[in-house]
């Protein structure tokens, strides 16, 4: 099997819920294997993220393709929505356990790492959530540590954002002003896409988080940063299945990709573009097809025969 060429692993950004759910700019990778990103108003370029909070909602849903789980974590700024797909069976037992403990009203603090996942809503909006990769139930001290880390990361972004606003809006000016390279490009895109951004709302979240971490829960009035107004409801979005694929589940998509790979492979695999193009004829966007393709490769259903060409494991 040929060496797999993948992008380097993306770092897990520490981010409060509000910054993430207010983001609606999606950057699809330009290269064949580039990961896609959600760009926030503060210019964070999110592929993987590390979040934490109190498990506030937890739900199992039976779909045509199998069981899925949805949940949300509350941090000082709002709710982080996460999901576990039917194609992640290794997490299902854990989800069942969370579900039953949650149903018994046991307060659970979670720290989770997952991939940014953006979906179009019916009215053309963008809805951001997290596809869970790994998580842990944590104690208050670990949560306090996460609050400090997320505050630190957010303050760094606010600081960079403010410095960047006084500059000429181009890459050269950013470079001269030492705007960090992980933020420079995405800050330019964010500026062009979001227009005016007031970083103060994110500063509120930071202050609340630091106060909480220091044990000063009451120091900051609870209504100072109204959190979840305007937040699209994850549960209705999904119930409507208002996705570009017309509600195709990951399993449907897997099936389409697998069948296509098996049927047209004439010996040297099937090109990535061909696969994505085929999915498009089934109304499956690249954003939807790609994670499923990744998944199939991870699960060793498909493998990269040569660069950019995939073979099915059962192909002759």
């Amino acid at each position: 099997m040929s060496e797999r060429q993948r992008s380097r692993r993306q770092p897990a950004l520490r981010m409060f819920a509000r910054e993430y759910y207010e983001a609606n700019l999606v950057e699809q990778g330009s290269g064949e294997y580039d990961p896609s990103f959600v760009i926030t108003k503060l210019g964070a370029r999110v592929n993987r993220m590390c979040v934490a909070g109190l498990l506030e909602r937890m739900e199992r849903r039976e779909t045509e393709s199998g069981t899925m789980y949805h949940g949300s974590l509350r941090d000082p700024t709002g709710l982080h929505m996460f999901s576990v797909g039917s194609f992640q069976p290794e997490l299902h037992a854990d989800m069942e356990e969370l579900l039953s403990r949650h149903e018994e009203n046991e307060p659970l603090l979670l720290l989770a790492v997952g991939k940014a996942n953006a979906q179009m809503t019916d009215d053309g909006g963008v809805f951001t959530r997290i596809r869970l990769e790994e998580f842990n139930i944590i104690d208050g001290e670990a949560y306090a540590n996460w609050l400090v880390d997320a505050a630190d990361a957010t303050l760094r972004r606010i600081d960079t954002f403010q410095r960047s606003r006084d500059l000429q809006q181009d890459a050269d000016a950013y470079r001269t002003a030492d705007i960090p390279s992980d933020l420079a490009d995405s800050l330019l895109l964010a500026g062009a896409h979001y227009g005016e951004t007031d970083p103060d709302v994110y500063m509120m979240g930071v202050l609340r988080a630091l106060d909480s971490a220091e044990g000063n829960i009451s120091a900051f009035p609870d209504d100072a940063a109204d959190d979840s107004s305007g937040l699209p409801d994850e549960f209705t979005v999904d119930a409507d299945s208002g996705e570009a694929s017309g509600g195709k589940s990951e399993e449907d998509i897997s099936k389409i990709i697998e069948e296509h790979t098996l049927s047209i492979d004439s010996g040297d695999g099937v090109a990535y573009d061909d696969l994505i193009g085929h999915c498009a004829t089934h109304n499956i966007s690249r954003g939807e097809a790609e994670p499923v393709l990744d998944r199939l490769v991870d699960d060793a259903r498909l493998y990269e025969h040569t660069f950019g060409r995939f073979k099915h494991i059962e192909a002759k």
Partner: protein, 563 residues
């Protein structure tokens, strides 16, 4: 001949047919050059662009030329192939200003290798010439798809022409792109971060004559090696032609090329480089530069030569071995420390070091840097390169406690290092933590009892832990070998085997995840950084026990957020 005239007219539509024919006849009659052989000259005469001459001539002269070929390997190519598409990795890229028919043209040549995604041992290297100023897309280290290139054969040796009309698609980014020659001097530290032609002003710190044996056995080549410095740093040089300047001389060197030997930049001076003695009374003296050109262990890069440094030697021992020629040889080795880090030193000659006097301080001059197990180490070839210091440059460092702190982001964006400490959060616990079986031949991990290289093998048990460490800006694999894992788990490998056999691998991994996932940790050990990313080999791993109030205070202080 008329056919050839027509071909020329295809590429030079403004030319007059009679004129072209006359030119061919002139070559034939005056110089006894047959029309076919005169084709290139005639094309040039009628001002066909240089990059098209070769293609035009080839297509005119050979009916057998195939067009539009996509190949995986060089060996599939024919000497007449044109419009070739192939994926290659770029090894070197050397720009050069060449006079082409009285005009200065920026061209470049270098090496490319096929099979860029495959085993590096299974690659074929070819020369290429870039006629189309593709410097930005042909950075050394990158993997590119070349489209519309043509094969060139010259005295039986084949190479690839990348033409102006060729397309270069970058599939994987390489290092810095090669800079175009300029006559404005830049600082030596800037020159060291570039690739390609530069002009510098620097003082000769050291020089010595050496002889290089040519690889093809065709003889020896005298060269001069040494080091140049300015206030910003120092750079090794290698001169392939005469170099009569003594240490201390200030030189202006124009049009020398910076190339990397392993990770280390080196200034290549050829007979095309312009060297002149430079006068500047304000330029740092040789004595001043002698101290600034000293390197610290933390700065060492694989492949560096003529390195000077001061270090603390903490251990010294020798080892006998039999080399490939059956000779008995001895190699000496020890551990070096300085405030910036630690490394190993090995010596191919006996040094007057009495192990009873350790630790001692030494000054090393003109030594080499080689990578061993991924991190740069020092090699001493001559006894004169080592001087024992009478005065201690710093208070003796305790080797057991000496770890140099880096942020994870700084570690992942610099060279490999030993003796480092860094911190971050564990954001993944790999499913293959715990007991594994290794191939007794090559130490690869067996999958289903088989080695990728050696097939079915009786495995040898080993214990290791694999995590991903992440600080929110960068991430790196974090590995613990058997010894470090045993220390972390507080169990011997045999005890872990028992747990494994009793509860199964999954239970073990779940327990590891419960215990370590999402935790802030501090690791100490070494960092190996290459184009695949960074790998941290932990000697020690522990929870970061900084109280949360302290962490919060630090964050408020750094960003000016008052409580």
């Amino acid at each position: 001949m008329d056919e050839l005239v027509e071909k020329v007219l295809e590429h030079a539509p403004d030319a007059d047919a009679e004129e072209v024919k006359k030119e061919f006849e002139r070559y034939r009659d005056e110089f006894l050059i047959p029309p076919k052989d005169a084709m290139r000259s005639v094309l040039r005469k009628f001002e066909v662009a240089e990059e098209d001459v070769e293609t035009a001539a080839r297509s005119a002269l050979s009916s057998g030329a195939r067009a539009g070929r996509k190949v995986d390997r060089f060996e599939e190519l024919d000497a007449k192939d044109m419009n070739v598409t192939i994926e290659v990795s770029v090894v070197t890229y050397t720009p050069r200003v060449q006079m082409v028919r009285g005009e200065e043209r920026q061209i470049a040549f270098g090496w490319i290798e096929d099979n860029p995604w495959g085993d590096s041992a299974d690659r074929i290297r070819w020369d290429f010439k870039d006629w189309g100023n593709h410097a930005e897309n042909l950075a050394p280290g990158s993997v590119v798809r070349l489209e519309g290139t043509s094969v060139n054969e010259w005295q039986g040796k084949r190479s690839l022409n990348i033409n102006q009309s060729s397309r270069v698609v970058v599939l994987r980014e390489g290092g810095p792109s090669v800079s175009i020659a300029t006559s404005d001097p830049i600082s030596i530290s800037d020159a060291g971060s570039k690739e390609g032609f530069v002009t510098i002003v620097g003082r000769v710190i050291s020089r010595r004559d050496e002889v290089i044996s040519k690889k093809d056995g065709s003889g020896d080549l005298p060269v001069v090696k040494g080091r140049l410095a300015d206030e910003t740093g120092s750079l090794g040089f290698i001169c392939w032609s005469e170099f009569e300047h003594e240490p201390g001389t200030l030189l202006r060197i124009e049009g020398a090329s910076v190339r990397r030997f392993r990770d280390n930049p080196e200034l290549n001076i050829s007979d095309r480089t312009k060297i002149e003695v430079f006068h500047d009374n304000n330029f740092a003296s040789a004595e001043q530069l002698a101290t600034t050109s000293m390197l610290s262990i933390g700065d060492l890069l694989d492949g560096a030569r003529d390195v000077s440094l001061i270090a603390q030697l903490n251990s010294w021992s020798s080892r006998e071995f039999t080399n490939a020629d059956g000779e008995q040889r001895t190699v000496w080795g020890g551990d070096l420390l300085d405030p910036s880090g630690r490394c190993r030193v090995s010596a191919w000659c006996e040094l007057p070091i009495d192990a009873a006097n350790l630790p001692m301080f030494v000054r090393l001059d003109g030594v080499r840097v080689r990578s061993w197990q991924g991190t740069p180490d020092i090699t001493v070839d001559e006894p004169e390169q080592v001087i024992q210091l009478k005065e201690a440059p710093w208070e003796t460092i305790d080797a057991e406690q000496h770890w140099v702190e880096y942020t994870l982001h700084d570690l992942t964006s610099s060279g490999s290092k030993r003796g480092i400490e860094t911190s971050g959060t564990i954001v993944a616990v790999r499913g293959d933590c715990g007991i594994i079986q290794r191939c007794p031949e090559c130490r690869r991990v067996l999958r289903d009892g088989a080695c990728a290289e050696h097939g079915d093998m009786p495995g040898e048990r080993d214990l290791r832990l694999r995590f991903v460490l992440d600080d929110g800006i960068s991430c790196a694999s974090l590995l613990l070998n058997r010894e470090s894992s045993e220390a972390l788990l507080g169990k011997s490998m045999d005890e872990v085997v028992e747990v494994f056999d009793r509860d199964g691998a999954e239970t073990f991994v779940n327990q590891m995840r419960e215990q370590w996932f999402g935790r802030s940790v501090v690791m100490r050990g070494r960092a190996i950084v290459d184009e695949q990313g960074a790998m941290l080999m932990a000697d020690q791993l522990e929870l970061d026990n900084t109280p949360v109030e302290k962490r919060s205070e630090k964050v408020r202080e750094q960003w000016g957020v008052v409580a």
